[in-house]
C-alpha cells in the first residue's frame, strides 16, 4: 500500500534525521571509514599489493620494513604487506559468507521458533542453547581432528556457532510481533503462515539482525584469525592475519615487525566494525533513540 504524501514526507524526514545523527557521531564516521578501508583493501588487494603474496625471495628473508617492503618480509622472503592485504581477502570472505549465511539461517529458524507451535519452539531453543554452550575453539579442534584443517572447516565453524545468536534475536522479535494487531488482521483476512512470516514479520525482525551482523563481523574475523593462528584455519601458502601473527609470534625477537604488521589490521577491523555496529544501533534502535 503506497504511503500518503504526508507519511512519505515524515519518513524521509526521519531518515534524514537518522543520517544526520549517524554522521555527527565520530565513532560512526571512524568506524565507517575503517570498514570501507578494510573492504576496499581486501577487494582490490590483487591490484594494490606490490608483490605476489606467495612469491619467495629467500635471500631477502626476514628483512625489516623498508620502502621496498613496507612491512618487511617473512622467513621465506615473502612481502608481509602483500600478505596482509591478501589475508584481508580471507577475512572478508569468511566474514561475508559466514555472517550472511548465519543471518539467513538464524532468521528463518528464529521466526519458525517464534511463530511455530510451542514444542517446536522448545526444541529449537534447546538446539540453540546446546550449540551456544559449546566453545567454538573446542568445536573447531574436534572438527579438524576429523576432517583436517581447511577454509571450509573455518566457515562451517563460524556459521554453526553464529546461527544461534541470530536465531534467538529473531525469535524474540517474532514473539513480540506474533500477537500484534496487524498480524491478527492479516490472519483474519486469510493470509497463510508463509506470507505472514515473509511479508510482515521479516521486514520488522531483520533490522536488529543487521545491526547484530555488523557487530558480529569482528567476532568472525577474530575466530578465523584465531583458528589460523592455531594452525587449524587456512592452509599454506594462503595468507591469513592469524598465520602472519603466528609466524610473527614465533619470530618475535628476530622479526618483531611481523607481529605488529599482523596485529594492526586485526585491531583496526575489529574497532571499525564495533564502532559502526554501535553507531548503527544507536541510530536505528528506537529505544536508544528515545533515550537520547
Amino acid at each position: 500500500m503506497p504511503l500518503s504524501p504526508v507519511a512519505d514526507a515524515g519518513a524521509r524526514r526521519d531518515r534524514r534525521d537518522r543520517l544526520r545523527r549517524f554522521l555527527s557521531d565520530w565513532q560512526a564516521v571512524v568506524g565507517l571509514a575503517l570498514v570501507i578501508l578494510f573492504v576496499a583493501s581486501a577487494v582490490f588487494a590483487p591490484w594494490i599489493a606490490p608483490y605476489d603474496p606467495n612469491a619467495m625471495d629467500i635471500p631477502a628473508r626476514m628483512s625489516g620494513p623498508s620502502w621496498a617492503h613496507l612491512a618487511g618480509t617473512d622467513q621465506l622472503g615473502r612481502d608481509t604487506f602483500s600478505r596482509i592485504l591478501h589475508g584481508g581477502r580471507v577475512a572478508l570472505l569468511i566474514a561475508a559468507i559466514g555472517v550472511s549465511v548465519s543471518l539467513v539461517v538464524g532468521l528463518i529458524l528464529g521466526m519458525i521458533a517464534g511463530f511455530g507451535p510451542r514444542w517446536l519452539d522448545s526444541l529449537l531453543l534447546l538446539v540453540f542453547d546446546g550449540v551456544r554452550s559449546f566453545p567454538s575453539i573446542i568445536l573447531a579442534l574436534a572438527t579438524v581432528a576429523l576432517t583436517g584443517p581447511s577454509l571450509t572447516v573455518v566457515l562451517a565453524i563460524v556459521i554453526i556457532t553464529s546461527i544461534p545468536g541470530y536465531a534467538r534475536v529473531a525469535r524474540t522479535a517474532t514473539l513480540a510481533l506474533r500477537h500484534a494487531e496487524f498480524i491478527l488482521a492479516e490472519r483474519s483476512l486469510g493470509a497463510g503462515t508463509t506470507r505472514i512470516l515473509l511479508h510482515h514479520m521479516m521486514p520488522n525482525v531483520i533490522g536488529p539482525l543487521l545491526i547484530l551482523a555488523a557487530m558480529d563481523v569482528p567476532v568472525v574475523v577474530s575466530i578465523e584469525a584465531g583458528l589460523s593462528f592455531l594452525g587449524i584455519g587456512v592452509l599454506p601458502p594462503r595468507s591469513s592475519w592469524g598465520t602472519i601473527l603466528n609466524e610473527g609470534y614465533l619470530l618475535i625477537r628476530d622479526a618483531p615487525w611481523m607481529v605488529v604488521a599482523g596485529g594492526i589490521p586485526l585491531i583496526l577491523t575489529t574497532l571499525g566494525f564495533t564502532f559502526l555496529g554501535e553507531a548503527l544501533r544507536d541510530t536505528f534502535d528506537p529505544r536508544m533513540g528515545r533515550e537520547r
Binding site: 606467495n54 619467495m56 629467500i58 635471500p59 628473508r61 626476514m62 622467513q75 621465506l76 622472503g77 581432528a145 583436517g148 584443517p149 594452525g231 592452509l235 599454506p236 601458502p237 609466524e247 609470534y249 614465533l250 619470530l251 618475535i252 625477537r253 628476530d254
Partner: protein
C-alpha cells in the same frame, strides 16, 4: 616419585601474580638472578613425561628421566666430534669375552629405593628379557639371553656378532635396568612413576608444570654437579629461549633462527653446545600409490626440489644438507646424491611419463620449520606442473598415518615430511626400511632383496671398511627407488650458561647428573 597435582584458585593465582610482579619490580630482580645459584639447575622439559617404562616410552625427555633414576651398563662419552662409550658408575666391568659374549659386573652397594633390595644381575636379566617383548624390542634383536653368573655378575649373550650393541642398545634409553621386584609388584609395567629407583636423583612430576630431580640420599656413586634439577614444562622452543634470556632456565634447545642469531651475537655468559646431528629429515613418496607408481614421476620430484633453498629458508642455514639417512660423523655417511636440483630435467621426466595436472597431498607435522619446508616444496613442484596441497597434522595422527594397523590412511599417503632420530651407528637408521617394515615404518612401501641381505650383513660385520661399503650401497638402493628427497640433518643445539658444562647424548637427550659447574 609421586605425581602431584596443584589446584590454582583465583585467589592463589592473583596472589602469585602479585608476588611475581613485586619480585619483578625489585632492581636487578628475578630476571637477573642466576638460575643455578644454590646448586639448582633449571632446565626445560618439552612436555610431561608420560611413560617412564623403558619398554613402552615415547622417548626424548623420558630417557633423560631414566638416566637420572635407573641404572645403565654403559653411557656415551664425547670424543671430539664423535661419540664412543664407557662403563657407567653402576658397573665395575663391562667387556667382551668374545664377539658374542659381553661380561659385566655391577658395582657394590647399589640399592633400590623403597626397600627393594640391591641391584642384582638378575635385575639386568629381567629388564632385558622384558625388553625383547616390548615396543622397543628391535634394539634387542641381537640379544639371545642374559646369563646370571653371580649376585652382581652376568653375561649378555648375543645370537650373532653385533658390533653396535653397546652404543645402540646399552647406552640408549632401552638399556635402562628396572627393579624386578618393584616392577612385578606394580603389574609388570609402569607409566608416570618409577616403581623403584637407583640413581643420582629422585624424581617427582607436577603434570603440566615441572619435573623435579632431588639428590638421592641412597646413591653411593659419584655426586652429581647440582643438588636439585628443576625441569620446567615449556612446550614451545621459542618460549624456552625467552625463559633462558630472562635467566629463568640455564639451558635450552635452540631453534634454527635463534641459532643463527646466537651464532652472530651470543648473549652474555652463554655458550653453545651441539649435541649431535643424528637426525635425518626427508620427503618420502609412497611408491605404491597410483599417482606415484611411475618412477619417472618420483625422479622428477627428486630433481624439482631445491634443497638448498629449504636449508636457507626453513633452517636459516644452520642445518647440514643430507645425502642419505646416515648422519654426519657416522660410518657410511654419503657426500653426494645421484640427483640434483634441475627443474628442466624434472619437467622432461614428467613429459616422458605423460603425466599432466598431477595433484598431490604433502602431509607434515604442524611445526614451523616443516611448514616452511613444505611451502618451498609446494612452490618447487608447482614449477613442474604438480599441484601440492599441504596438510599440517598433529603429532598423534601423523606418526601413525603410514601404519597399516592404525587405519586406512596409509592407502592414501602420497608425500610426507619425516624426520627420524638415530644413534651413533648406521645400523639403527637402516633398520626401518627393510621389507618387513613395510606398513610399519617403511611408509615408502618398497622392498629390495639386496637391501635386506645387506642389512643382515651389516649387523654382523666388524670390519669398518666393509661396513661402510654396505651402508653406502643400502642408501644408494633407497635413493634409486626415487622415493626419497633427502633434506637435512638437524643439529641438536643447546644454549647454556658459560659456567656450566652440559652433557648430552648424540641424539640430544640431556644427562642432568653429568652437568658440571665450571
Amino acid at each position: 616419585m609421586t605425581v602431584r597435582r596443584t589446584i590454582t584458585t583465583r585467589r592463589t593465582f592473583l596472589a602469585s601474580g602479585a608476588a611475581l610482579g613485586a619480585i619483578g619490580l625489585v632492581p636487578g630482580g628475578a630476571g637477573m638472578v642466576r638460575a643455578q645459584e644454590g646448586r639448582v639447575l633449571n632446565l626445560r622439559l618439552e612436555g610431561d613425561n608420560a611413560i617412564l617404562d623403558p619398554g613402552y616410552m615415547i622417548g626424548g625427555t623420558e630417557v633423560e628421566a631414566q638416566k637420572q633414576c635407573l641404572p645403565f651398563l654403559a653411557e656415551y662419552v664425547r670424543d671430539g666430534d664423535t661419540f664412543s662409550w664407557q662403563p657407567t658408575p653402576y658397573v665395575t666391568r663391562l667387556e667382551y669375552a668374545d664377539d658374542t659374549h659381553l661380561e659385566f659386573e655391577l658395582a657394590e652397594g647399589l640399592v633400590w629405593s623403597g626397600g627393594n633390595g640391591t641391584v642384582s644381575a638378575s635385575d639386568v636379566a629381567y629388564s632385558y628379557a622384558r625388553m625383547k617383548d616390548s615396543e622397543w624390542s628391535g634394539y634387542f634383536d641381537a640379544l639371545e639371553t642374559v646369563e646370571v653368573t653371580g649376585e652382581r655378575t652376568g653375561v649378555l649373550v648375543l645370537n650373532k656378532p653385533f658390533a653396535p650393541f653397546i652404543m645402540v642398545t646399552l647406552c640408549h634409553g632401552p638399556g635402562a635396568i628396572v627393579c624386578e621386584k618393584a616392577t612385578e609388584a606394580v603389574g609388570g609395567r609402569f607409566t608416570t612413576e618409577f616403581p623403584a629407583i637407583c640413581g643420582p636423583y629422585t624424581y617427582s612430576q607436577t603434570p603440566g608444570q615441572r619435573a623435579v630431580f632431588e639428590r638421592n640420599p641412597e646413591w653411593t656413586g659419584p655426586a652429581p654437579g647440582f643438588d636439585r634439577v628443576v625441569a620446567h614444562v615449556i612446550t614451545e622452543v621459542q618460549a624456552a629461549e625467552l625463559a633462558y634470556e630472562a635467566g629463568e632456565i640455564d639451558c635450552t634447545e635452540l631453534g634454527p633462527d635463534s641459532l643463527a642469531r646466537y651464532t652472530e651475537t651470543l648473549p652474555p655468559n652463554t655458550a653453545i653446545t651441539t649435541a649431535g646431528e643424528l637426525q635425518y629429515l626427508w620427503m618420502g613418496m609412497n611408491t605404491q600409490h597410483e599417482k606415484l607408481q611411475d618412477i619417472r614421476v618420483r625422479r622428477a620430484i627428486q630433481h624439482a626440489v631445491d634443497v638448498d633453498s629449504i636449508l636457507a629458508g626453513a633452517f636459516a642455514g644452520t642445518s647440514p644438507k643430507s645425502y642419505g639417512i646416515v648422519a654426519p660423523g657416522l660410518l657410511g655417511k654419503r657426500n653426494e646424491t645421484s640427483y640434483s636440483y634441475d627443474p628442466a630435467y624434472a619437467r622432461q621426466l614428467m613429459d616422458e611419463a605423460g603425466v599432466t595436472g598431477l595433484e598431490l597431498t604433502l602431509r607434515t607435522l604442524n611445526w614451523q620449520e616443516r611448514l616452511l619446508t613444505a611451502q618451498i616444496i609446494q612452490a618447487n613442484l608447482a614449477a613442474i606442473g604438480i599441484t601440492v596441497n599441504i596438510l599440517p597434522m598433529e603429532s598423534g595422527p601423523f606418526w601413525e598415518m603410514g601404519m597399516e594397523e592404525a587405519g586406512d590412511t596409509w592407502q592414501d599417503l602420497q608425500l610426507w615430511l619425516m624426520r627420524f632420530a638415530t644413534v651413533p651407528d648406521p645400523y639403527e637408521a637402516t633398520q626401518w626400511f627393510v621389507s618387513e617394515q613395510v606398513g610399519i615404518w617403511n611408509w615408502e612401501r618398497w622392498t629390495d632383496e639386496e637391501y635386506d641381505r645387506l642389512y643382515e650383513e651389516g649387523l654382523s660385520e666388524n670390519d669398518p671398511a666393509k661396513r661402510e661399503e654396505i651402508y653406502l650401497r643400502m642408501q644408494q638402493i633407497m635413493e634409486d627407488t626415487g622415493a626419497y628427497v633427502w633434506i637435512s640433518h638437524d643439529p641438536e643445539v643447546y644454549a647454556h650458561r658459560a659456567d656450566i658444562e652440559i652433557n648430552a647424548a648424540p641424539s640430544g637427550e640431556l644427562d642432568y647428573h653429568r652437568f658440571e659447574p665450571v
